[in-house]
């Protein structure tokens, strides 16, 4: 037998063992319950695989890993979704995560990704159905986390714009910085976004369309509601290819009831975008 033969056989046996343990550790109702669904383990059961002794049975030893699996992920998701947790309360959140991990078990090496589908899951979960705004609140919390860890980029600032000849401004292509994004909600999530997650949230938000800008400045993620006009412009700049400045101006002018006032509005918006570091060059 060659070493390769030996290794691949070991991988096969190791794979069978690891897949079995994965099923037992990740089972929502505990190891004993999961063992009942593993008829192939009879007649010696788990004891043929894991050593037990008079202190702890094999199942009790494996249960340590099962508990660690669930509670480690629960703790991380509590940290990632403090407002969703506050809205649901501990017991409901615990039940939600139990169900969530069955549908969306972690697949990435970094635990940072474990909660990335929670908002999507809330759309179909009874706890989300009873609180139709909750998926949007979770979307906000996830977006905050992603903005925090988004790529750094050299933002356009006023000095950089001043260095460009005014005649060339219309063709300057810009797009939202990687850490900035526009979120569109059906509920006034901004009413909850600044709440203290240490207490139960005071009330559900109002049902009213909301465009919210989320961005990072000096290592902190900030947000503010957007007027329709600014939202339309930033959505255009939020495309992967960005937009030329003249396209952004046209979009704003299209929405402006008084065309004569549009230039001043554009000027104010651009100054704010540059000050907040929202834009990067898209043509370089």
């Amino acid at each position: 037998m060659t070493r390769e033969d030996s290794t691949s056989r070991a991988e096969l046996e190791l794979g069978d063992l690891q897949r079995l343990l994965l099923r037992l550790i990740a089972a929502p109702a505990g190891v004993a319950d999961a063992l009942a669904r593993e008829p192939a383990l009879a007649p010696h059961g788990l004891d043929a695989i894991i050593r037990g002794d008079e202190r702890m049975t094999a199942a009790e030893r494996l249960e340590i890993y099962a508990n660690a699996y669930f509670y480690r992920l629960l703790d991380v998701l509590k940290e990632d979704y403090p407002l969703t947790l506050a809205a649901l309360g501990d017991d409901n959140f615990h039940n939600l995560i139990t169900d969530y991990l069955l549908e969306f078990p972690p697949t990435e090496p970094s635990i940072h990704f474990a909660g990335r589908s929670l908002a999507q899951f809330l759309l179909v979960h009874p706890l989300g159905a009873a609180r139709p705004w909750l998926a949007e609140l979770a979307t906000f919390e996830r977006a905050t986390l992603e903005a925090l860890h988004a790529a750094d980029a050299a933002a356009l600032d006023a000095a950089a714009m001043r260095a460009i000849p005014v005649g060339a401004w219309p063709s300057v292509a810009m797009r939202l910085a990687p850490a900035a994004r526009v979120l569109e909600f059906a509920w006034r999530i901004d009413e909850l976004a600044g709440a203290n997650p240490q207490v139960t949230l005071p009330h559900p938000p109002r049902r009213s369309p909301l465009a919210m800008l989320l961005w990072r400045r000096a290592g902190e993620v900030l947000f503010r509601p957007l007027e329709l006009l600014e939202s339309a412009a930033l959505v255009l700049a939020g495309r992967p290819q960005g937009a030329r400045f003249e396209e952004i101006c046209e979009r704003i002018a299209d929405h402006w009831t008084d065309p004569a006032a549009a230039p001043a509005a554009i000027d104010r918006m651009l100054a704010r975008w540059l000050n907040d570091g929202l834009m990067v060059r898209a043509d370089r």
Binding site: R3, S6, T7, R9, A10, E11, L12, E13, L14, G15, L17, Q18, R19, L21, L22, I25, A26, D47, A48, I49, I50, R51, D53, R55, M56, A58, E60, R61, L62, I64, Y65, A68, Y69, R72, L73, P105, P106, T107, E108, P109, S110, I111, H112, A114, L148, H149, A150, A151, D152, A153, P178, A179, R216, G219, E220
Partner: protein, 288 residues
Amino acid sequence: MKRAEFPFLGYGVGLRRPHYDYIVGARPAMDWFEIVSENFMVAGGPALKTLARVRENYPVVMHGVSLSIGSADPLNRAYLRDLGNLARRVNPAWISDHLCWTGVAGRNLHDLIPLPFTAAVAAHVADRIRTVQDVLGRRMAIENVSSYMSYAASSMAEWEFVATVADAADCAILLDINNIFVNAFNHRFDPHVYIDAIPSERIVQFHLAGHSDFGAYLLDSHDHPIRPEVWRLFAYAVGRFGEVSTLIEWDDRIPPFATLAAAADEARSRAHAALAYRARGSAAESPR
């Protein structure tokens, strides 16, 4: 293996979020820091900025938790690429991960699950460590894990498995003293036998941490001060291996930085005392 690839760094602590601002702002005296690699495998933002600032002033070691070197799944090449990218950014003193598996079938348990101690599994793991070292272009250190279960299929002791893998992979060993103590209780062996059996030339780092006593088993919880029994085992290990880069791990209920720094100082004092004891021609301080 050339020891020069793993210089002696002194006595360090883990770089943890509650201390970021203090470390960057106050630049406290500390020999070195260890990071959890995955916490910094992000595109950008304040964590990477903090790390860059810390790296300007201290040596840094990258310690991973998700390499899953013992998995039956193929090595995760995207993870290795990201790990390599972080290493190029950080220029760490070295890179380490755990002798275990963390996931299979495309799933991740985010826990350090022990392996069966067999020759075939040792060969499987050693092949994969060699591949990782080739990809990273550097030798890595592999850490013994704490465990709460052992396999009926194991045909060798844990210390034999660790030594076999390290020899076959030609990699370094990060020896976690607390994990040895925890496993000695959980699986009923003499921790000194473990330490005596590990090849001295491969030891490049010690980990020290606190554990929790649940009566029937000890849990490697990293949320307590280091227990006196573990300090004694540390002294025994220093007597056997000499002075080795040592790190205090504290990951939950994280205390003020001063508490961690005091633990690092205590490790230094105890190591020097153990070395002085050895130099006087006696066996190292024994916990027995």
